[in-house]
């Protein structure tokens, strides 16, 4: 279980996150939406401890990510806007390096299966600096297939994906949900989030609100 407790973050004295509090149970999927500049990416980056916070805590299975050792982040995987991979390395090299960072030695078969699944098997020897935006997004999904994780943070995962890529993403999300893995997905499209999220959170003006699914009284899709 991931619990976010009274998270606060400011940029140049401008508060972006104000006492943000929510939990994601094992097997749960939290969909977060909000307008541009609401702080959705900041929220995910703070949870992944890639950005500092001014206060509050994030706990994974009761272990503090903000104040504890690096090992507390072991079950957490972040897929952001940027690929978070090395451009001079190939897809294979990046995935091997990434899995080793997480203390896992991926087998050749597992690696190839993952690349096959995301449709990058024929480009696996190219340095990823030559990949398109959509290919990089697919490589991010391959990263989630080779690294063992308990909770996956995804920031706008459909960006750059073609129709088949979006279908692949949705198939993988459902597969992970069946395996009782937890997800936090950020998107501008509330209707898309409602198709698979167990609960929807709306981030606005630094505050987070739980929105009943398919409610007509709630804020609609952000443009």
């Amino acid at each position: 279980m991931l619990s976010v407790e009274y998270l606060r973050k400011s940029y140049h004295l401008r508060p972006v996150l104000k006492d943000v509090t929510f939990t994601v149970d094992d097997g749960g999927t939290a969909g977060i939406f909000g307008v541009n500049g609401a702080g959705k990416t900041t929220l995910l980056r703070v949870i992944a401890k890639m950005s500092s916070c001014d206060g509050g805590d994030v706990k994974l299975n009761g272990n503090s990510i903000m104040k504890g050792p690096a090992a507390h982040r072991a079950g957490l995987l972040y897929l952001g806007h940027q690929p978070n991979l090395y451009p001079i390395l190939t897809a294979e090299e990046n995935l091997r390096f990434a899995s080793r960072l997480y203390g896992y030695s991926v087998t050749e078969k597992h690696l190839l299966d993952a690349l096959e699944k995301v449709g990058l098997i024929h480009q696996r020897w190219d340095p990823i600096r030559y990949y398109s935006r959509g290919m990089l997004q697919r490589l991010g999904l391959a990263k989630a297939l080779v690294i063992p994780w308990q909770i996956l943070l995804m920031d706008e995962p459909v960006t750059g994906l073609d129709e088949k890529g979006v279908e692949l993403l949705e198939t993988l999300i459902r597969r992970w949900q069946k395996k009782q893995k937890s997800l936090i997905v950020v998107s501008h499209q509330r209707s898309w989030l409602e198709e698979f999220s167990s609960h929807i959170l709306y981030l606005d003006n630094g505050f987070i609100t739980k929105i009943p699914p398919h409610s007509d009284d709630s804020p609609s899709d952000s443009k």
Partner: protein, 198 residues
């Protein structure tokens, strides 16, 4: 880095028309100036790969102690600088008609310990300026004042080695270098977790 260092040595050989005895008076300072510039070149590249595609995000979000990032940049940078020096220094002696010193072990040790100091400071400053908007300009601005005492000590120590002075006469400079290495290595190791976060 090596190409830049060799180019500077060549310029020196054409610019200075002094006898070796006269030139040896200020050769230490010139030598360490070359090393400072090539270390800045190296430090500019230290986090260049991590800046592209936000690759540093992969390492930061992984369950890895971030102090290891500092350690890896520190030690790999030291190795690169040391290898460059092993190529540049013989050419320095050759082109400027200086005699090869007898105490080569002392020279290598001095280079190693000073490089550790320069790269400890440099790796920490590189980490701080990695995400700054004008990081490439900020790096030398922050680096030069911090390494100046270290370089002064290195120049004095090099002078002493060239003149075959007793160690007791110049051990204070070596103590200063070692202090810098220890202080900045420990500081970098301890605070890198904080400086690497956005």
């Amino acid at each position: 880095m090596i190409a830049f260092g060799v180019s500077v040595i060549l310029l020196y050989s054409f610019s200075f028309n002094q006898s070796p005895d006269t030139f040896s008076i200020f050769s230490s300072g010139l030598l360490w100036m070359v090393f400072l510039f090539i270390s800045v070149l190296g430090l500019h590249r230290a986090f260049a790969l991590e800046r592209e595609f936000d690759a540093i995000g992969l390492v930061l979000s992984a369950p890895v102690d971030r102090s290891y990032i500092f350690l890896s940049k520190w030690l790999s940078g030291t190795i690169f600088l040391l290898v460059s020096q092993l190529v540049i220094v013989p050419l320095f002696w050759l082109f400027l008609h200086l005699s090869i010193p007898e105490n080569l072990g002392g020279w290598i040790f001095l280079f190693l310990i000073t490089d550790l100091g320069i790269l400890a400071i440099g790796s920490l400053v590189s980490g701080i300026t990695m995400r700054a908007r004008m990081g490439e300009i900020l790096l030398p601005i922050l680096l030069f004042p911090l390494v100046s005492p270290l370089l002064i000590a290195a120049v004095k120590s090099t002078d002493a080695l060239m003149n075959n002075l007793e160690f007791n006469e110049w051990k204070i400079w070596m103590q200063l270098i070692v202090t810098f290495v220890v202080v900045f290595a420990v500081t970098g190791y301890v605070i890198f977790d904080y400086v690497s976060e956005q």
